[in-house]
């Protein structure tokens, strides 16, 4: 009796060799491009950070100015993406369930923050919300200053992260049959019960994914915030602007450490997004 693994092993070995020597061109281009464009730069930064002594890394990363920028960046981004979590759900609901004039234009315009260069967004938000701008002049008598303050950072982040929740929720909402809600109604559920128990659960993974995507984008945002904010430490300086300032002062160690903090944060958010999407797929069955 021959051992099946023994007879099979030469061919598997051959297949393996085959795979190494006859890698198709798309594979080679994909990996070569990824190595040059993505892996080398990432490795350069991580290795640069690892050449610093751990004590130095800790000192730079927890410097009071750095800590204040984390506060402004992460807390403001969380609030902005949270606001868009609620607003995006309502926008998606209105766009999917209702018909009204100019709906198509409004639907298309939701993607504007993806298409509009961030420098333009910053420029126009700064002037619209400044004390003599269209909206800012209405808020000024109430003692609210938006441009050149943390509130302005928040508005820019809201602008940047607006489309994410709308675009993740819309397809799920489209697949959600209104019959389900009607059934809940017929069974005597109130409007709130229908919303909380029937509508929201299948939408929740999409909403949270959208919030996480918007958060990741808002945390990394530079162009619009640098123009809207006054970029003063402890007031409205965000971490990406701090990285930029450190580089301008040729402080490569400082820039690298804070850049690495931002990179790790975005990797964590990416992981959370993947988990959320896997969670969302359980409704696909």
């Amino acid at each position: 009796m021959t051992n099946p693994t023994l007879t099979r092993s030469p061919s598997t070995w051959h297949n393996g060799l085959d795979r190494v020597t006859h890698v198709s061109w798309p594979w080679r281009i994909t990996w070569a491009y990824l190595i040059v464009m993505l892996f080398l730069p990432t490795a350069a930064m991580i290795l640069k950070a690892s050449t610093l002594a751990p004590a130095d890394i800790w000192r730079i990363a927890t410097d009071p100015v750095a800590l204040s920028t984390y506060n402004v960046t992460f807390v403001t981004a969380l609030i902005a993406s949270g606001i868009n979590g609620v607003a995006g759900l309502v926008v998606a609901w209105v766009l999917v369930r209702y018909t009204f004039p100019f709906k198509r234009i409004i639907d298309a315009a939701v993607d504007l923050p993806f298409a509009l260069p961030t420098a333009v967004a910053g420029l126009t938000i700064a002037s619209v919300y400044s004390s003599n701008g269209w909206i800012g002049s209405l808020l000024a008598p109430l003692g609210i200053t938006v441009s050149f303050s943390r509130l302005g950072v928040g508005v820019a982040m809201i602008f940047i992260s607006l489309p994410f929740v709308v675009r993740t929720v819309q397809p799920v909402l489209q697949d959600l049959e209104p019959e389900l809600e009607e059934a809940a109604w017929c069974l005597g559920a109130s409007r709130w019960q229908t919303f909380w128990r029937v509508v929201l659960p299948p939408l929740l993974p999409a909403v949270l994914t959208g919030i996480a995507l918007g958060f990741a984008r808002a945390v990394g945002e530079y162009g619009s915030v640098v123009i809207v904010a006054s970029n003063i430490p402890f007031k409205d300086l965000i971490a990406p602007v701090l990285v930029f300032q450190r580089l301008e002062q040729y402080d490569y160690a400082g820039a690298t450490v804070i850049g690495t903090v931002l990179l790790v944060a975005s990797l964590v958010v990416l992981l959370i997004i993947n988990i959320l999407q896997a969670w969302g797929r359980r409704y696909d069955v």
Binding site: P26, V90, V91, I106, T118, V120, L162, V243
Partner: protein, 294 residues
Amino acid sequence: MTFRTSQLTESVQASPPNPSTAPTTRSQAWVKPVLIIGVVLYLALVLFIPAANVFVQAFDGGIDGFLTTLTRRPFLNAIKLTLLMAAITVPLNTVFGLCAAWAIARNRFPGRTLLLSIIDLPFSVSPVVAGLMIVLLYGRNGWFGPLLEANNIRVIFAIPGMVLATAFVTLPFVAREVIPVLEEMGRDQEEAAKTLGANEWQTFWRVTLPSIRWGLLYGIILTNARAMGEFGAIAVVSGNIAGRTQTLPLYVEDAYKQYQTQSAYSAAVLLAGLAVVTLILKEILERKTRIKDS
């Protein structure tokens, strides 16, 4: 059981369902207009008013102000450089995106999801961090710094670095748009073509490409919009030298900082026009693919 049935009949009596618009009973009629008005107000505050402001400010002093800016040399250089960025990075990322999409959609291998996440990475990394990475790699103190300096090649504060930065931030678009289209298409047609004697290139040009063309075009449009509008990554690597390494978005910020509001808005309105064209093309493409679906 009886209790439940009675409760049910009670609620049905309380709000008799209208057969045509079942959940929209009279007590709920206010919800729809309130939500629509709320949404329009919110979008107006965050999106529409700032967007309209760009066009109003640009042409506030008539078209003359815009035309005067248009003739200035740094402005023309910025336009040229912006077009150059797109002209180099869009083809690069299109070829890469097609290859990566094919590799991911047509093969099953361990670590496939990981590779997808890696390709997505430039979307979640801050553009400033992307620029920093390129400075640390090609800058004077970077890995390749001494080698480049010995051969008298400038990457940082020059066009090559700006191209690398732009290519980094626009890397995922084409792959992301093409992968789902390729997966949905399946491989039956390609296998049929191969059985009928077509070689790899013929299969790609005559069978695969026509099926994925709208998705591909969509990816290219998004890549182009981002390549022309990128600010953060380019700001880090370019040094922002007026007339030499200044693209339109950098010109906008520079002019704004120097209180040349008219110049800033003249450049901004060009970029906003690009955004509007992008959105219109996107809408057309989406409608095309939707018609094909149904």
